[in-house]
């Protein structure tokens, strides 16, 4: 635990000295926020809440990109080799990157919420505790996903390609940019197999006060299991050496990290109420049906 905290503090300092980090973690999400609010906000606080949820999703999802790139860069530059000589296992090295990432996420989230309140006159953040829990579990789950990407890719080029594919999928198929309810039904069903969907729908409806407790619990359980499996897999296949290549058999471990989302996706497709709920919430936001009396914190 001591090693994890020691590494976390150093990672935080290094991040604060990195201008690129500040741009991608703060400036870019705020840019998205202003862009979406200007285009889709419609002057409605409910829609601003929805957009805040989407922007928070993007901020949280971005964890996997920065984390995987940093880890691969450290490995390629031989920095991890030096750490290998110290009495330090892969666990603290990985856990510190997740913890540092989470700590750095909090101010960004606070700034985004403040901007929504003061600039876009958002009076009600929906359910703030639900938002907090989703951000916490989402951050660790997506950070772990970044660790998996770093573990299975051998070069920075490979890492960037995989990240680009994942990011595009998460961004456009989860409902973080285009509302999930507007997709064709088959695409909505496919999106239920993605971790990003649980985070996006959860945050969007938590920020508008429309999320049910059951939805949030499902989201948190999905993200927690996803985190735990991904962390364990990345710990098992972690590589310190730049020339160490991931063995083919180890790549099968990565499939294990997908299993929780395959199970949740299958469950939601067969028995779940998520899509119906997403449709209903979207209708409420659009003003086509009235909000239930218990809203916003049902």
């Amino acid at each position: 635990m001591r090693n994890t905290w020691t590494l976390t503090k150093v990672r935080l300092r290094l991040a604060m000295r990195n201008k690129m980090f500040l741009f991608f973690s703060l400036v870019m999400p705020l840019g998205f926020l202003f862009f979406f609010a200007a285009i889709f906000g419609k002057g409605s606080p409910a829609w601003i809440g929805y957009i805040l949820g989407a922007i928070l999703t993007m901020t949280v999802m971005g964890s996997f990109w920065g984390l995987s790139v940093q880890l691969v860069m450290f490995r390629e530059q031989g920095i991890l080799r030096r750490f290998r000589l110290a009495p330090l296992g892969a666990g603290p090295m990985l856990a510190s990157s997740i913890l540092a990432n989470y700590i750095m996420l909090i101010p960004t989230v606070a700034i985004e919420m403040t901007v929504c309140r003061w600039t876009f006159h958002l009076k009600d953040f929906g359910n703030i505790w639900q938002i907090f829990l989703l951000i916490t579990f989402g951050s660790v789950a997506f950070s772990s996903l970044g660790l998996i990407v770093a573990s299975v890719t051998n070069t920075m080029q490979e890492t960037q390609v995989i990240n680009q594919i994942l990011w595009t999928g998460f961004l456009f198929l989860s409902g973080a940019t285009v509302p999930l309810a507007t997709f064709p039904l088959w695409l909505q069903r496919c999106s239920l197999f993605m971790p990003a969907t649980y985070l996006a729908t959860g945050l969007e409806f938590a920020a508008t006060g429309l999320a049910t407790r059951r939805e949030i619990v499902t989201d948190i359980v999905a993200l927690s299991i996803g985190f735990w499996v991904a962390f364990e897999v990345s710990r098992q296949i972690f590589r310190w050496e730049p020339e160490a290549k991931v063995p083919g058999r180890a790549k099968l471990w990565v499939l294990a990290a997908l299993v929780p989302f395959l199970i949740f996706g299958a469950y939601e497709n067969i028995r779940g109420q998520r899509l119906a709920q997403v449709h209903q919430d979207f209708q409420i936001l659009s003003g086509r049906i009235p909000a239930p009396h218990s809203s916003p914190n049902r």
Binding site: R17, Q77, I79
Partner: protein, 306 residues
């Protein structure tokens, strides 16, 4: 007699078709500075990285303070300090932060301020890693290797690529480690480094130890011969130089003839006469007292830095 601090028995290691180690064995006693001397690709780094627990041998046995480097985990890592052939740290970490960071991983810790002073990094304590010169980076790597007051220190080519001034500073640091009775295993391809710093040297070539002993013992193998290096205006092909008075051995490396002579004055007189007779000219002539380089040439027929 106490058990050696480092024991290496019959190590084998291959990388695909390349056999890096082919039965390397040696032992290092407590407080000894032991050198692995050999050309690039001889197997020095593979050997030291097996001893650091960073590589797995295909066969053979390695022990450091009685511990298996690969399986003894944290207990082993608490015991050793190491400088890798090339140390990298994040660009934006400060010198003091780097030492503090690594010190925090160990139970026993040296004082950071003392290390900064000892390694002449005090003025650079707040400098970022990417602002340091090559010599300063290497001094930092050495400081980081000593953050846990290790019993055993591994130094993989600690002075490679550094200018002579910095190299001498690092020699002083290693000599201080000797005075502190630390056991040091260093790899090098610099003859003068091995001769100056090491109590004993294993000369390693193509994955095998080909000679082992103190520098003095090894040089005695060249039994009083002096190395004479000559360059000529025209190449000789008929082995005449090997027949000159006093010459025990003659080899040619890239146009330089290396003669080992037991009677240098007579050899030089004979050489000049021979060249005059052949209408050839002497372009340069240098004489060297016996060194480990001569031992290596005798044993392998090659120069150390080929």
């Amino acid at each position: 007699m106490s058990e050696p601090v480092i024991q290496v028995e019959n190590l084998y290691k291959s990388y695909g078709a390349v056999q890096a180690l082919r039965g390397v064995s040696f032992a290092v006693e407590q407080g000894e500075v032991f050198g692995l001397l050999g050309p690039n690709g001889a197997g020095k780094t593979t050997t030291i990285e097996i001893l650091e627990g960073m590589r797995t041998p295909d066969a053979g046995r390695a022990r450091v303070c009685g511990l298996d480097p690969e399986r003894s985990g944290e207990k082993f890592k608490e015991t050793i300090g190491a400088v890798l052939q090339s140390t990298s740290l994040p660009d934006k970490i400060r010198v003091k932060e780097a030492i503090d960071l690594f010190a925090n991983f160990y139970r026993e810790r040296a004082n950071t301020d003392d290390l900064l002073k000892r390694f002449q990094l005090d003025e650079k304590r707040t400098a970022f890693y990417n602002q340091l010169s090559g010599g300063q980076k290497q001094r930092l790597a050495l400081a980081m290797a000593l953050v846990n007051n290790p019993q055993v220190v591994f130094l993989d080519e600690p002075t490679a690529g550094l200018d002579p001034q910095v190299r001498r500073e690092i020699y002083d640091i290693i000599e201080q480690m000797r005075r502190e009775k630390k056991t040091v295993l260093l790899t090098t391809h610099y003859i003068e480094e091995a001769e100056r710093l090491c109590d004993r040297v294993a000369i390693i070539d193509s994955g095998k130890v080909i000679a082992l002993g103190s520098p003095r013992e090894l040089k005695q193998r060249s039994a009083g011969t002096t190395r004479i290096e000559v360059r000529l205006a025209r190449a000789l092909t008929d082995g005449l130089l090997a027949k000159l008075d006093g010459v025990a051995d003659c080899r040619e490396f890239d146009g330089t003839y290396v003669l080992h002579s037991s009677r240098p004055p007579q050899t030089i007189v004979a050489l000049v006469k021979q060249l005059e007779a052949q209408n050839n000219e002497l372009q340069s002539l240098e004489m060297f007292s016996p060194s480990l380089e001569d031992v290596f040439i005798e044993l392998t027929g090659r120069r150390l830095r080929e």
